[in-house]
Symmetry: C2
Subunit: 504 residues, 2 copies
């Protein structure tokens, strides 16, 4: 048993539901394993109805790297204990990914129903990747998107993501802080995230540190003095936590005394200041600001924490809170108000034939066919609409390529269609090739620079209008199907409708 607790990287590839393998068994026994399927990973809605921030493509492509570089021996170690169908076991031990993966990049801004990832591969390869891909993407997009909301609320005050203790397990803490950074957080506190992704971690001070020196005023003062004495210099931050006993009566006094005793003032080369983690943050922060200013500690920073989220931060701003940065834990780490992102992975084509799922729930009807996504910008450079086209033989796509006049058609309401004249818009293809015939492309390398993904996101965010970025009821962004895609979709729906009505 002990040995089985130690999982290798390959376990990430098979972090999957049993039925993916049960069904692969049927495909294999029926000789269907060479059928080429296309699957889309997309989501149906966001918390606020607005944008989502893509994160996790890096780790998804990493799955392919791991799958294709894992030895048969290693694969057999796992599968021999899990797969009881002999033929399937041998097939899986030899399995490598030989298909294509298309995706938006990390840091991309995405909207509902757009394929974020499209996989085109022999059916078993594409099928067994469903659960691990969704497991990665749902966590990371949830966190990146929540980080985007929180950091937009706090802007221009920076947000520190520090919720590792509340994140859901190791991967969520380590990769989640990376996603939070891509989604706009200024920094994070996790040292494994720093190790794995090269994004520097930061931190302030904990209550338990202060309590290690005993109880009460003198003990707190000693803890501050020792901290400053040993940490000063080398641009080290000196942020003292002042609410262990009483913020105004004890903590802020001790902090000011400690800074003054140590000669720390506005000439200190690093950042210095205080953190408040309880009580009425608006009131306490302003009182502390006054006291710090009276002591001529004008550059002393105020860090605020304590269950903050985008709504509390907006309320604090309305009260003219005195703040230099916010630390946010739970709200981002588990995307607290919307923990379940709800991304799905749906089959849309088999051997060049489009397929559809016609659910009892209208929102669950999938868009068929092998597709890609374009973003159209208006003359001011603002994103105007996204267009989902078929990859092959799509007439709207051709118009786009030629910068011709194009009609953007609302799927449900004809009267909402609009026409964009050639020259009045520009476009960008959001779908990139990350894996081609099982070979990982150079696009993947770009994702390894996490700061680059964050910069990309921030730059794209500037191209979204203010109304579409607001946190409540953002102005709806158009995501349109091309004429050919809509035609294909409703042809399939009509076929099934007739079957339901008993007409065919």
């Amino acid at each position: 048993m002990k040995d089985r607790q130690l999982l290798s990287e390959f376990a990430n590839v098979i972090n999957s539901d049993r039925y993916q393998y049960t069904e692969s068994d049927v495909f294999l026994k029926e000789g269907m394993q060479e059928k080429v399927a296309v699957f889309d990973m997309y989501f149906r809605k966001t918390e606020d109805g607005g944008l989502a921030v893509v994160s996790g493509i890096h780790e998804v492509i990493k799955l392919i790297e791991v799958l294709n570089s894992t030895s048969e021996e290693e694969k057999r170690k796992y599968f021999s204990l899990l797969i009881h169908e002999e033929e399937l076991l041998e097939y899986l031990v030899k399995l490598k990914f030989t298909g294509d993966i298309y995706a938006m990049r990390d840091g991309e801004i995405a909207y509902p129903n757009e394929p974020i990832i499209t996989i085109k591969a022999p059916i078993i390869q594409a099928k067994i990747l469903e659960t691990p891909i969704l497991n990665i993407m749902n966590m990371q997009i949830a966190i990146a998107t929540k980080a985007s909301r929180v950091s937009r609320a706090a802007h221009p005050t920076p947000v520190l993501s520090f919720g590792s203790r509340r994140a859901h397990g190791f991967t969520s803490a380590v990769d989640g802080n990376k996603a939070a950074y891509i989604g706009g957080c200024a920094t994070h506190s996790n040292i494994v995230t720093e190790y794995k992704y090269g994004i520097p971690s930061v931190g302030t001070m904990a209550h338990s540190y202060i309590q290690t020196f005993g109880v009460g005023r003198e003990a707190e003062k000693e803890s501050f003095d020792k901290f400053i004495k040993n940490r000063r210099g080398e641009n080290n931050p000196l942020i003292l936590l002042i609410d262990t006993y009483n913020t105004l009566k004890i903590g802020i006094q001790n902090a000011i005394d400690s800074f003054q005793d140590a000669g720390i003032d506005d000439s200190y080369e690093g950042t210095y200041g205080i953190r408040i983690d309880s009580g009425d943050l608006a009131y306490l922060s302003k009182k502390c600001r006054e006291l710090l200013d009276e002591a001529s500690l004008h550059k002393a920073q105020i860090v605020l924490t304590n269950g903050l989220d985008e709504n509390l931060i907006r309320a604090l701003k309305e009260q003219d809170v005195a703040v230099d940065s916010y630390g946010v834990g739970d709200a981002i780490a588990v995307s607290k108000s919307n923990p379940c992102f709800g991304g799905v992975y749906k089959i849309v084509e088999v051997d060049d034939k489009s397929v559809i799922k016609l659910s009892e729930d209208i929102i669950k009807i999938s868009n068929p066919g092998f597709k890609e996504v374009y973003r159209l910008y208006d003359k001011n450079g603002l994103a105007y609409a996204d267009l989902i086209t078929l990859v092959d033989g799509d007439k709207d796509k051709k118009l786009l390529m030629n910068d011709d006049t194009i009609e953007l058609m609302d799927e449900n309401y004809d009267f909402k269609s609009v026409s964009l004249a050639g020259g009045e818009y520009t476009h960008k293809k959001l779908t990139k090739v990350y894996v081609k015939d099982g070979q990982i492309t150079k696009e993947y390398l770009k994702l390894k620079d996490i700061k680059n993904s964050r910069d990309y996101y921030l730059k794209e965010l500037e191209k979204i209008s203010t109304e579409r970025k607001r946190l409540e009821n953002p102005h709806k962004y158009k995501v349109n199907l091309s004429h050919d895609l809509k035609k294909l979709k409703y042809k399939l729906i009509n076929k099934i409708s007739k079957q339901i009505k008993g007409e065919i």
Copy 2:
């Protein structure tokens, strides 16, 4: 960079916040590293105000096993890139855990403010474990407790946990399904959970499987036929998903036809039946039950899924839903309605001196001292109250040991105190020793049998009164401080209060 993406088990030990190490630097420079600190891991509240289910102790003790067995070379690989303080780096490379860990067992039922884990160790050892311990416990207790709520709502109908795709990353999927199992789920769907913990995984059928055969009635029928043909026998479950196109007009007809064509009926040795994943589950399930019964498929099971949680399941029961098992994803996998469990890790003693944190927020005041937890049962064997005592020199603990008459005192309201006469109650110590002087005890081995932890939970659940198990506003369970603990706590609070008032 590539190398740093491949993390070894040791990364779990340092899945931590930067400040734990910054503060360790101060302790080391001040020569405080031999100070022995006691930290408690506990939580302040649950979603419903009632019980929580402990899970994750197994993985916490595993951290100690990994820390103490990792080579200095391996530790240096990480720390040399992360720790820039030379003395601290060398200290960490040599660090092993030499202290004690006390904890409730996995499967234990716990209440607010009770120490679930107590660590007594040299300060740096105890400090750097804070974040990784909370990261493990907050995820697993959240999921186990939510699984408990959902499976209590569904009882006696079994609940399958199958939310890996919505779980927050790899660890949350793999360890989370284990936690869901401990918390009462009958089974789960993740094959890595099966590999790692030996709990068999199960599954039914996906829409994409059906769509691989094309679009519409005939394609669905073919997919059912092929599934039955290739999977029948060996007790394999044959559960057909019937809502891809239309549950009543297409799916159930195809399912009945496929079963009958293949000669699958109530004599089939495994389970067989249908799954419905959309639409009005109450209505559709009853209609399908009628149709199955008319076809003499009385033992055909009905599995219901689609965003179910404890409340929807209760509503379905009220409507006399026809169901044999529920599949639950999001609600359990991310503990959707309460994703942030909020467990904390607080210092309570340093070198045998008790410490306290007196927050601006009353609920954040910690209970000082080195403590343990007892459960008292009434004459009917039902849990009556929990008592938190000091480990050393506690008079109530002594009364308990002698089965003497004991007064259970409410912390806030004297008039609520009750007296339990000797012979009228029995007691059990919930706190067990998992690590002593850095050595892992035999108690740890018991946690490796996950089914045993689940059985323990189910047995303990029977000892909780119906009123205390109900899902809304459960009858409050008494968690009392011993007289000596209360005295200690208020002595410390009074000392600080006087400082705040300027009296000392």
